[in-house]
C-alpha cells in the first residue's frame, strides 16, 4: 500500500517540479528581457526599471484577507469580491500620467468585446498601488470606466480600491507585480499587465502588455472558472489553444501540430507523385535501368477527363485528412500502450475521469469535418451526373458479354468507343439482359446499365490515348471479359474515322425501321389520326389519360414502344400493340433517335464539325408527306 502512495507522491512531485521549471523559465525570460533592454541608462535608474516587472506566480494563492477601501471609503476584504466567479485583477495608480490609463483603456476595450458581463460571469478589481491615493480618486475613475464600458450592472462588479502600503505590498508580492517609486520624477516605474484569478483566489493567467485580445481573455476566464462559464466551443478551443506562460498569450499548439502533420503528409504526397512520374519516365527507358521496375506497382490511375482531376483533388484531400486521423489514432495507441505498459504484476491504473467536454469535442469536430466531406462529395456527384447541354450523345447497349455503341452519325462499334478530344460526350445506356456497369477508370465515370430503364453518364476527355472500359457490375460467367477500350482521338482524326462509312445516321436507320414496322400507318401526324402525332414530341410535356403529365424523354418513349398500355396519352384509345418481342435495345434506340429528329424542343447539337461532317438527321420523310396530305 505504501508503495502505491509513494508512486502517487512521486508523480505529484514530478508534476510540481515540471511546473516550477516552467515558472522559472518564464521569470528568467522576463528578467533577461529587462536586462538587455535597459542596460544603457545610469545604474540607479537601471535598477529602478529592472525592478518594474512581473514575476509569474501561476497557481499560487493570493491572500484574500487583505484590507482595502472601496470607492465610498468603506473597509473591504478582497474575499468580498470572490463570490464564485473568476476575477480580473489590475494594479495601477490613478494619477499615473500614461501607462495605467493605457492598461485600463485596453482592459475596457477587451471586456466590451467579450460576451461575458462584468458582475455576471466575472468580477474586476483594480487596485491602486500608490498608498497616497484615496477613495475619491477611485470613485472618479470608476465612474469614468463604468460609463465607458456601458453595460448595466458593471458598477456592482468592477471595483476600484485603494489601501495602506502594507496591504498593497502584500498583494503585489503575492501576484509577482514589482514596481518602484522614482523620486526624481515623482512617478512609479511599473510593468503593464493584468491577471486572471480563479474563484478561490489562485492566480490562473497573466496577460502582458497594453493589448489583451478578447479571445485570449475569454479563454483565460473560462479556464480560471474551471469550465463553469463559457460554452462547449470554448472547451474545444482550449484543446487547440494553449496558454503559453512565457508570452502570456494563447497559442494554437494543436493547429501548429496539424499544420506540421499536414506539411509532412503533403511532402510525402508530392514525393510520391514525383516518384511515380519518374517511374513513368523510366519505364520508357527500361533497358537502361538496373532496378527491375516492373516490380514497382503503379500507384495512381491514369487521369484523362475534366472530372477526373476534380475527383483526384478530392481523393487526395480525403487521403490527407483521413490519413492524418488514422496515423493520429494509431500513434496514440502505440504511445499509450508503451508508456502505460504494466511494469509490475500489481500495477494499478490511474482512475479515469469522465469528461463531457472531451466527448462533445470528438463528436462535434468529426461532425463538421463529415459535413464538409459530404458537401464536397455531393457537389462533385452532381457535376458528374449532369452532362453539359452541348454534349455529343452516344447510345450504349450492354449485353452478356459485350458493349455496343451507336454514334449519332450512324457508326456502330463493339467493345470500342471512339470519341473526340475536348468535347463532352453523353452516354445513354440500356441493357439487353442483366445489370451491367460501364466503368472507365481514367475518366472516373461509373454507372450501372439497368435493364428496363435508361441511365446516363458523361465525360470530356483531356488526353488522347486508349483507356480501359470495364463492366463492373457482376453479370455472369464472362463478366471479366466484358471489357473494351475508349479511344480518344484528336478532332481531325475523329472526323476521318467518322467518315469511314456507316449505314447512314442513327435517325435515318430509325426512320427505315419506323416504316418497316408500320408505325407510320397510325402515327401519321394527322390531327384526326388514331394515334398521337410524334412531331415535336421529344422533350415536350405529354398529358396522360390518368390526368398526370410526363416529359417525353428517352425512357418515356422506350416504355411507350415496349409497354404501350403503361401510359396512354389523353384523348387516345389503348390500341397500340407491344413491340417488346420484335425489337432489341439497339433498334429501340434507333427509333428514339428518329423520333427525336422529328423536331425537338431542345436545341440540337451540331456534330463535331458541322459543315463537313455527316449531317445528323434531317429526315422527316414519312410523316411530312402524310402531313401535307392532311393539310389539303
Amino acid at each position: 500500500m505504501s508503495a502505491i502512495k509513494m508512486i502517487s507522491n512521486v508523480s505529484a512531485r514530478r508534476y510540481r517540479s515540471n511546473f516550477a521549471t516552467r515558472l522559472l523559465l518564464s521569470v528568467v525570460t522576463v528578467f533577461i528581457c529587462a536586462t538587455f533592454s535597459y542596460s544603457q541608462p545610469a545604474p540607479d535608474k537601471a535598477a529602478l526599471i529592472r525592478s518594474a516587472h512581473i514575476d509569474q506566480h501561476l497557481n499560487q494563492q493570493v491572500p484574500l484577507n487583505l484590507v482595502f477601501r472601496d470607492e465610498q471609503g468603506h473597509k473591504v476584504h478582497l474575499q468580498d469580491y470572490f463570490n464564485g466567479k473568476p476575477v480580473i485583477l489590475s494594479l495601477v495608480y490613478y494619477q499615473c500620467p500614461m501607462l495605467c490609463t493605457v492598461v485600463l483603456n485596453a482592459m475596457t476595450e477587451s471586456m466590451s468585446d467579450l460576451r461575458f458581463d462584468i458582475g455576471k460571469e466575472f468580477n474586476v478589481i483594480t487596485v491602486s498601488f500608490d498608498p497616497n491615493e484615496g477613495p475619491a480618486l477611485a470613485a472618479d475613475k470608476k465612474e469614468l470606466y463604468v460609463r465607458r464600458y456601458g453595460r448595466a450592472g458593471a458598477a456592482s462588479g468592477w471595483h476600484f480600491l485603494t489601501g495602506e502600503e502594507s496591504q498593497i505590498k502584500q498583494l503585489a508580492e503575492a501576484v509577482g507585480f514589482n514596481y518602484a517609486y522614482d523620486p526624481s520624477t515623482g512617478q512609479y516605474a511599473h510593468a503593464s499587465g493584468i491577471m486572471v484569478l480563479t474563484p478561490d483566489g489562485r492566480l490562473a493567467r497573466y496577460f502582458y502588455g497594453i493589448k489583451y485580445p478578447p479571445s485570449d481573455l475569454r479563454l483565460g476566464l473560462v479556464e480560471a472558472s474551471a469550465g463553469k462559464i463559457g460554452s462547449p466551443v470554448d472547451q474545444i478551443l482550449l484543446l487547440c489553444y494553449h496558454y503559453d506562460a512565457a508570452t502570456g498569450k494563447y497559442t494554437p499548439i494543436a493547429i501548429g501540430f496539424m499544420r506540421l502533420g499536414g506539411a509532412i503528409t503533403l511532402v510525402g504526397l508530392v514525393g510520391f507523385i514525383v516518384v511515380m512520374w519518374r517511374h513513368d519516365v523510366k519505364k520508357k527507358a527500361l533497358t537502361h535501368s538496373i532496378v527491375p521496375l516492373f516490380l514497382i506497382p503503379q500507384l495512381i490511375p491514369e487521369t484523362a477527363s475534366t472530372e477526373a482531376h476534380k475527383v483526384d483533388i478530392f481523393f487526395y484531400l480525403m487521403v490527407l485528412v483521413c490519413g492524418f486521423v488514422a496515423v493520429g489514432v494509431i500513434t496514440l495507441i502505440i504511445i499509450f500502450a508503451v508508456k502505460y505498459r504494466r511494469k509490475s504484476e500489481d500495477q494499478l491504473a490511474i482512475a479515469a475521469p469522465q469528461s463531457m467536454p472531451l466527448e462533445i469535442t470528438w463528436i462535434v469536430i468529426p461532425l463538421f469535418i463529415f459535413i464538409g466531406m459530404f458537401v464536397w462529395g455531393t457537389d462533385l456527384y452532381f457535376s458528374l451526373a449532369r452532362p453539359p447541354q452541348n454534349a455529343i450523345e452516344v447510345y450504349v447497349v450492354g449485353k452478356q458479354w459485350m458493349w455496343k455503341f451507336q454514334h449519332p452519325e450512324g457508326q456502330r462499334e463493339i467493345n470500342q468507343l471512339h470519341v473526340p478530344l475536348g468535347r463532352p460526350i453523353k452516354l445513354t445506356m440500356a441493357s439487353q439482359d442483366v445489370i451491367h456497369d460501364l466503368y472507365v477508370p481514367a475518366f472516373r465515370i461509373h454507372t450501372d446499365v439497368v435493364p428496363g430503364r435508361y441511365t446516363t453518364t458523361w465525360f470530356q476527355a483531356t488526353k488522347p490515348g486508349t483507356y480501359h472500359l470495364f463492366c463492373s457490375q457482376y453479370c455472369g460467367t464472362l463478366h471479366s471479359g466484358m471489357i473494351g477500350e475508349v479511344i480518344v482521338m484528336q478532332p481531325d482524326d475523329y472526323l476521318r474515322w467518322l467518315n469511314q462509312g456507316g449505314e447512314g445516321s442513327l435517325a435515318s436507320q430509325g426512320q427505315k425501321l419506323f416504316r418497316q414496322l408500320g408505325c407510320n400507318a397510325c402515327h401519321t401526324g394527322d390531327a384526326e389520326a388514331r394515334c398521337p402525332s410524334l412531331i415535336g414530341l421529344y422533350g415536350r410535356t405529354v398529358y396522360l389519360q390518368s390526368g398526370n403529365t410526363i416529359i417525353a424523354d428517352d425512357d418515356y418513349i422506350r416504355e411507350s414502344i415496349m409497354d404501350p398500355q403503361a401510359k396512354i396519352v389523353a384523348g387516345f384509345q389503348p390500341i397500340m400493340p407491344t413491340f417488346r418481342d420484335q425489337l432489341d435495345q439497339e433498334q429501340v434506340l434507333e427509333l428514339i433517335s428518329y423520333i427525336r429528329s422529328l423536331g425537338a424542343q431542345r436545341q440540337e447539337v451540331p456534330p463535331v464539325s458541322a459543315p463537313t461532317g455527316p449531317q445528323p438527321a434531317p429526315v422527316q420523310g414519312a410523316i411530312q408527306q402524310s402531313e401535307s396530305k392532311g393539310g389539303k
Partner: protein, 560 residues
C-alpha cells in the same frame, strides 16, 4: 482480489463443471446448456470459416496471374459467391453472438441460462440444416450469382443452384431470429439482482443492440429471398423488367437487410473490444454511457443508410444525397467508440496478453476500415471506386480486420472459461502478429488496386494490376497460416494446457467470479451486484473492489 479467494478456497481439480458433468454424444446433442450450445456453435462455425477461407485461398491463387489460368471463369464466380455466402451468413453473423454471446451472456448477467434454453438448441439445429443446404450446393456444383443475388441475373440469368442456396440462407435466418429474440428476453428478464442497465458490461449492450437488428432486419431478407425464389420458379414479375418487375426494388430490399447486417457483424466485435480494453488496461471504460449509446446510435441509423450501396445504380440524385448524409451520420458513433477506447488506454496499466493484442489490432484496422468508409460515403468518390477492389478492401478491414480480430480476441479471452485451460501465450502472440501482418499485406494493396480501377469479381484482369495482386495473394497465404495456428494450439491446449484459474485476467465481470470452467448452473448462489461495471481498483482508490459488500457475497459462491 475476490477471485484469488475463490481460487485458493477451491482447487479447480475436484470441481464438477459443464464439460465433465456428463459425457457422450447424446449429452451434447440434446443439451440445453447455453455453454454447451456455444461450444457446438463454435465447432460448426469454425468448420464453415475454414471452408469459406479455402475458397478465398483458391481465389487468391487464381489472381496471382492476370490471365485466368488456374480455374475457369465460371468456377471463379462460384468461388467468390460461396466465399461470400458462407462467410457472411454462416460465419460472421453467428460468430460472436452465437458462440461467445451464447457462452458468456448468461454468465455476465449472473443468470443460469438464457431465457429459452430449448429454443437455443433449436437455433443450432436450424443452423445445421441451413448449412446442409450449403454443403449440398457446394457438392452439387455451386452457385454463381455473387452473395448479393442481384436480379435479374439471379432470377433469369444464372443456371446454377440459386434456389438451394437461398433456401439455406432463408432457413439460417430463423436461427438468427430465434437467437436474437432469446438474447433480448434474457437481457430483460434474467439479470442478477442489482445489475441495472447501466451496470451491464458493454458486451451485453452490444449483444442486445445486435439482437434488435437481427429480429427486425432478418425477416426482410427472408421475404426478399422468397420473392426471388417465386420469380425464379414461377416467373412472376417482381424484379425482372422483362416480366414487368424492377431490378432496383431487389437492391432496395436486399440492402435494407444487408446494411444493418453489416452492423450485426461489427457491433458484437465492438462489444468484445469494449471488454478487452478495460480488462487489460485495468481501467474503467472511458465514457461508458457514450459507448453504450453509440451502440444504439449505430443500430438505429444503420437502418437508414442502405441506399449508399446504390449510388451508381440509378437512384435519384436527391435520394443519393440523403443516403450519403446519413452514412456520414452513422460514422459518428463509430468514431465515438474509437476515441473512447483510445482514451481508456491513457494512464492505464496495460498488459500485452494476446486478447489485448487483438483488441489493439482491432482499433487500428477498424479505424482504417471506418475512415475508408468515408471515401465511399462521399458521392463523387464513390462513383469512381464503387464495385472496385477499394470496396473489397474497405469491408474486409471492417469484417476481417474488425470482426474476425475481435472474435479471435474474444476466443482467447474467454478460452480459460470455456475450456478450463490456458492457451500457450507465446504461440498465441505469434499467431496474432502473423494475422495482423498477413491481413494488412492482403488487403492494403487492394485499396490501391481499387483506386487504379480494378473491378471486383474479375477472374482475369489487366496486366498492370499484377504486382499488387501478387502482394495481396502473398499476404493471404500468411493470413492463412495465422488462422491455422490458433486452430492447432487451442485444440492442443484444451487437453494439455495449463489449468486456468477462475479469474486469470483479474477482470471484474461476473463471468470471472465463478470457476473455470463454470458448473452447469453457472452460479450456485445468485450473485448480487452492487457496483458499476469495470470498477477496477486504481492508484487513487486501491481498495475499492474488496470494500464492496456485493463482492463479499460473491466470495461465498460455492464453486462446484
Amino acid at each position: 482480489m475476490s477471485s484469488e479467494v475463490i481460487a485458493d478456497a477451491k482447487p479447480p481439480e475436484v470441481t464438477v463443471n459443464y464439460l465433465n458433468e456428463k459425457y457422450g454424444l447424446k449429452s451434447w446433442l440434446l443439451t440445453t446448456d447455453h455453454k454447451r450450445i456455444g461450444v457446438l456453435y463454435m465447432i460448426s462455425i469454425t468448420l464453415m470459416f475454414f471452408i469459406g477461407g479455402f475458397f478465398a485461398v483458391l481465389m487468391r491463387l487464381e489472381l496471382l496471374t492476370p490471365q485466368g489460368d488456374l480455374v475457369t471463369a465460371q468456377t471463379y464466380n462460384k468461388l467468390f459467391t460461396m466465399h461470400g455466402v458462407i462467410m457472411v451468413w454462416f460465419f460472421l453473423i453467428p460468430s460472436i453472438p452465437a458462440v461467445l454471446g451464447n457462452f458468456v451472456l448468461p454468465l455476465m448477467i449472473g443468470a443460469q441460462d438464457v431465457a429459452f434454453p430449448k429454443l437455443n438448441l433449436l437455433s443450432w439445429y436450424i443452423y445445421v440444416v441451413g448449412s446442409l443446404f450449403t454443403f449440398y450446393v457446394v457438392v452439387s456444383g455451386g452457385v454463381d450469382t455473387g452473395w448479393t443475388f442481384y436480379t435479374p441475373f439471379s432470377t433469369a440469368g444464372s443456371n446454377t443452384h440459386v434456389i438451394a442456396t437461398t433456401c439455406g440462407i432463408f432457413i439460417i435466418g430463423f436461427s438468427t431470429i430465434i437467437s436474437g429474440m432469446n438474447f433480448i428476453v434474457t437481457v430483460h428478464k434474467m439479470r442478477a439482482p442489482g445489475l441495472t442497465w447501466f451496470r451491464l458490461p458493454l458486451f451485453v449492450w452490444s449483444l442486445y443492440a445486435t439482437s434488435v437488428i437481427m429480429v427486425l432486419a432478418t425477416p426482410v431478407l427472408a421475404v426478399t429471398l422468397l420473392l426471388l425464389a417465386v420469380e425464379r420458379t414461377f416467373h412472376v414479375g417482381i424484379f425482372d423488367p422483362a416480366l414487368g418487375g424492377d431490378p432496383l426494388l431487389f437492391q432496395h430490399f436486399f440492402w435494407f437487410y444487408s446494411h444493418p447486417a453489416v452492423y450485426i457483424m461489427i457491433l458484437p466485435g465492438m462489444g468484445v473490444v469494449s471488454e478487452l480494453i478495460p480488462t487489460f488496461a485495468r481501467r474503467k471504460v472511458f465514457g461508458y454511457n457514450f459507448v453504450a449509446f453509440a451502440t444504439f446510435g449505430i443500430a438505429f441509423v444503420g437502418f437508414l443508410v442502405w441506399g449508399h450501396h446504390m449510388f451508381v445504380a440509378g437512384e435519384s440524385l436527391y435520394a443519393a444525397m440523403t443516403f450519403s448524409f446519413l452514412s456520414y451520420l452513422v460514422a459518428i458513433p463509430s468514431a465515438i467508440k474509437v476515441f473512447n477506447w483510445t482514451a481508456t488506454l491513457y494512464k492505464g496499466s496495460i498488459s500485452y496478453d494476446t486478447p489485448m493484442l487483438y483488441a489493439l489490432g482491432f482499433i487500428g484496422l477498424f479505424t482504417i476500415g471506418g475512415l475508408t468508409g468515408l471515401f465511399l460515403a462521399a458521392l463523387g468518390l464513390d462513383v469512381h471506386v464503387h464495385d472496385t477492389y477499394f470496396v473489397i478492401a474497405h469491408f474486409h478491414y471492417i469484417m476481417v480486420g474488425g470482426m474476425v480480430m475481435a472474435y479471435f480476441g474474444g476466443i482467447h479471452y474467454w478460452w480459460p472459461k470455456i475450456s478450463g485451460r490456458m492457451y500457450p501465450e507465446g504461440w498465441a502472440k505469434l499467431a496474432a502478429l502473423i494475422v495482423f501482418l498477413g491481413f494488412n499485406l492482403t488487403f492494403f494493396p487492394q485499396f490501391i488496386l481499387g483506386y487504379l480501377g480494378m473491378p471486383r469479381r474479375y477472374y482475369a484482369y489487366a496486366p498492370e494490376f499484377q504486382v499488387l495482386n501478387v502482394m495481396s495473394s502473398a499476404g493471404a497465404s500468411i493470413l492463412g497460416v495465422g488462422y491455422l495456428l490458433p486452430l492447432i494450439y487451442l485444440l492442443w491446449s484444451a487437453k494439455y494446457g495449463k489449468k486456468a484459474e477462475a479469474n486469470p485476467w483479474k477482470a471484474t465481470g461476473l463471468e470471472w467470479q465463478t470457476s473455470s470452467p463454470p458448473p452447469k448452473e453457472n452460479f450456485a448462489v445468485t450473485p448480487i451486484v452492487t457496483e458499476p461495471p469495470y470498477n477496477y481498483p486504481t492508484l487513487e482508490n486501491p481498495l475499492k473492489e474488496s470494500e464492496q459488500p456485493g463482492k463479499q457475497s460473491l466470495e461465498e459462491v460455492p464453486v462446484g
